[in-house]
Every structure is written in C-alpha cells, then in structure tokens.
C-alpha cells in the first residue's frame, strides 16, 4: 500500500505541494519523542506523531520513513512545510489522536506481513 492510498483511505490531509505519495508503506511507528523515532522507525514505515515542527522533517528524512501522519490537528508551520517539500516528504494531517490513527492503520493492514 502506498502513502497516497493510506491518505485516501483515512481521509488524511496532504500537507505541502511536493509530497511523494508513491512510496510503499511497509510498517508503522508511533512516538512523539524524536530520539525514539530515530532509534525505532524503519525505512518505509509510516510515522505517527503529534509533533509538527521542523525537526520532524529532519528525523523523517534521516530515518527514510515513507510518510508522517501528524495527529490531533497539529499544524506544521510554513518553514516545516517548505522543508518537507524540498525533501519530498509526505506530511499527512488528521484531527484524530495517535491511538485512533494507529488503530485505523492496523485495520488497513499496515504492519502485517505481506502474504504470498
């Protein structure tokens, strides 16, 4: 499943004009602590967090996650969106909280081993 397909299925707002929505999502990771994300998020994960500041983009870029879902309606500022666009990182916004978002991702099959 791609980031774009997840965004459509969960009605997430695609923030920014240059998000790469074609990346394949392999799993997920949720935490608001950047060091935890640095340690735990794997390339191809979708990272769920309520942090919305500039360093989210840096962490997303360095860990090569497929996209970031920003929960509870937190809004990244213009600089953050600009940086995300430079790095083609998909920032996806939702009003829901992290727990509900993760639950819906699991329902979609994110994080389950691909059969076949």
């Amino acid at each position: 499943m791609t980031v774009g397909e997840i965004a459509a299925a969960l009605h997430l707002e695609v923030i920014g004009a240059n998000a790469d929505l074609s990346r394949e999502v392999r799993g997920g990771y949720a935490s608001d602590l950047l060091s935890c994300a640095m340690a735990g998020a794997k390339p191809g994960d979708v990272w769920v967090t309520l942090q919305a500041h500039l360093n989210v983009v840096a962490v997303a870029s360095l860990t090569e996650v497929a996209g970031v879902i920003i929960t509870e309606g937190a809004r990244p500022d213009a600089d953050t969106v600009k940086r995300a666009d430079q790095e083609s990182i998909a920032l996806l916004g939702t009003k829901e909280d992290t727990f509900s978002t993760v639950a819906r991702l699991v329902k979609l099959g994110v994080g389950e081993p691909v059969s076949g």
């Binding site: 950047l34 060091s35 640095m38 340690a39 500041h53 500039l54 360093n55 840096a58 790095e87």
Partner: protein
C-alpha cells in the same frame, strides 16, 4: 532530474538507435514459447491462443521449427468450418526467422520486410529458442535505456571514485560542520548534508543510516545543550568513518549517568519539542563500532565514534 518516461530527447533517440545495433535478439526475445504441433487441430489451437492471450504460435515437430500459425490463419479456418483440420494444413511454412545472436536491427528489418506480428528465434542449429514481437523490441530498448540512464546518473552524482582517483598512502576526506546553539530552524541540516555526502561516496544504506542517526543525535546535543554550539568533524576513509563532535561547554557533570537510558537534563520546553528523551547518547552508542566520550564541566565535551565498514561495504568500491 527525472525525465518523463516515453519522452525521448535528441540524445536519447541517438542512444536508442545505437542500442538497436548493440542489443542482441536473445536479450529482448520472449524465451518461453508456447508451441503447437502440426498434428494438433485448429480447435485446439483456438483454446491455446485464447487461454494464453497469444496472437500466434510456432509449430514444432520433433524439436524442429516447421512453421508458424497466426490468429489470422485460425480465423480463416473457422470461417471455413475447419475446426478439426490439423494445424499443419493452415500454418505458414515460408518461414522468416532470426537468430538469437543477431542484432535487434536485423529483426527490425525483418519486420519491415513482411507483415508479420512475430518472428521465431532460432539458435545456430536451427532449434527454436524464443519468439520475438515488436513489443519485445520496444520493451528491451526501454529497459536498456533505463539502465543506461541510471548508470549515467550514478556516475554523475556519486563521488565514490574520489578514493580511487586520488592516490596517496592514506587518503581521507574531512568534512566539518559548525553547529550553532539553539538554532532549531537549522538543526538537522548538518546530518542531512552528511547523509547525502555518504550516499554520494557510495556508502551502503545501513552504514549511511547509522552514521546519519549518530550525527543527528550529536548535532541535537550541540543545539540543545551547549553554550556556543560546537563542531562536527567527519573523517572518512574507505574502510571507516570517524565522527568527532566537540564543544566548549558547559560539559557533562556525570558522564556515566548521562549514558543511562532516560537520563535527561533538558528543560520542559525542549521536551515539548520531542527532544530530551534521554536517548541521544544511547542511540549514538548503538550506531557506533567504537564509542568514547570525555567531558569536563566548564571546559567542554568531546565525543569520538567510529563506524567501520567491511570489505564489501567500503566507500568508493570499484565499479560504482
């Protein structure tokens, strides 16, 4: 930098023309061929073509190519109610073939001479080894162009040959990044730049990731905790990368406590940004093969880590 697929500019067109001569039929043909025998009926042929989605099939007897039968032959036979006729009665025996070692240009010429959709490919002994359609040629060319494009891009964007081109008894490349304190708008930039540099030098993804994570944590420590920022010094050799991070204070009171997971002196506003989890030094240590930290309160802190690369992971490996 990504060209839209299908849009060929002038130089790529020339490249496609070159490839038509370079590529061999054997490289672009479909090797798995569904064949029929001359004794099978046209009715059986119909099922084979329908199920496989083919528009024709070579006819083989005792391992030798004896003809080719097309959808058009089938339609003619059905019009005449000849469902039970053997394929041998309807196939074309005036055979056009190409050899697997021929240039694709030979096949292109063959297609232009005769209105056929597919040409059987034979080896030097005349045995059938594959089938070639116009689609096979197009796909083969696109594939070859794509590979050529990527190789061009890699040689253009990778600087990995620096370790081969520049000769000395011991070559290293040193990068310095100055990190200002409390500049959260630019924090993470040095690690991103270092990551790109390592990629251009041909670093393996896992190695690049470990160094990028270590550099990011070190960079954030400088941004969050130091009085006047600090410096990230990266010393790269083909077999190892050393990261030395220095600052002039305030220094760490109790280094062994600072190495405990969860230990943090970050104020609340830093924690609200998602930092200060007390995992930074842990993350760095996890990424490093060698890890050393020295600190004196009032003087400063020096972190020295090494990530080693195995033979097959070396920076600037030949053939990149």
């Amino acid at each position: 930098m990504v060209a839209a697929p299908g849009l060929l500019n002038g130089s790529e067109l020339t490249k496609a023309q070159e490839l038509v001569y370079e590529l061999k039929v054997g490289q672009v043909m479909t090797p798995e061929v569904v064949c029929v025998s001359p004794e099978q009926t046209m009715g059986e042929l119909e099922l084979i073509l329908r199920d496989g989605g083919f528009a024709g099939a070579p006819v083989v007897k005792d391992g030798h190519l004896v003809g080719i039968v097309s959808l058009q032959d089938l339609i003619l036979s059905l019009e005449q109610g000849a469902v039970d006729d053997p394929v041998g009665n309807w196939m074309s025996v005036d055979l056009l073939t190409v050899r697997e070692g021929d240039s694709v240009i030979e096949a292109v010429k063959a297609f232009s001479q005769r209105p056929v959709g597919r040409i059987p490919v034979v080896d030097v002994r005349g045995s059938l080894v594959g089938i070639l359609t116009g689609g096979d040629i197009t796909r083969g060319l696109v594939r070859a162009l794509d590979v050529g494009y990527r190789q061009g891009e890699i040689s253009q964007y990778r600087a990995s040959h620096i370790f081969q081109d520049i000769s000395s008894d011991d070559t290293s490349l040193t990068l310095r990044y100055r990190i200002p304190a409390r500049d959260f708008a630019r924090s993470g930039e040095a690690s991103s730049k270092l990551k790109r540099a390592l990629q251009r030098l041909g670093g393996r993804p896992e190695i690049v990731r470990r160094l990028a994570v270590a550099a990011y944590e070190a960079e954030m420590n400088l941004v969050i905790h130091t009085d006047d920022g600090g410096e990230l010094l990266v010393d790269m050799r083909p077999d190892r990368v050393r990261l030395v991070v220095t600052d002039q204070g305030p220094g760490i009171e109790d280094v062994s406590a600072a190495l405990e997971p969860g230990f943090s002196t970050a104020p609340d506003w830093i924690r609200d940004l998602g930092f200060g989890a007390g995992m930074g030094l842990q993350n760095i240590r996890r990424c490093a093969d060698e890890f050393e930290i020295e600190s004196r309160p009032g003087v400063g802190t020096r972190l020295d880590i090494v990530v080693r690369m195995a033979q097959e992971e070396r920076l600037g490996r030949p053939g990149q």
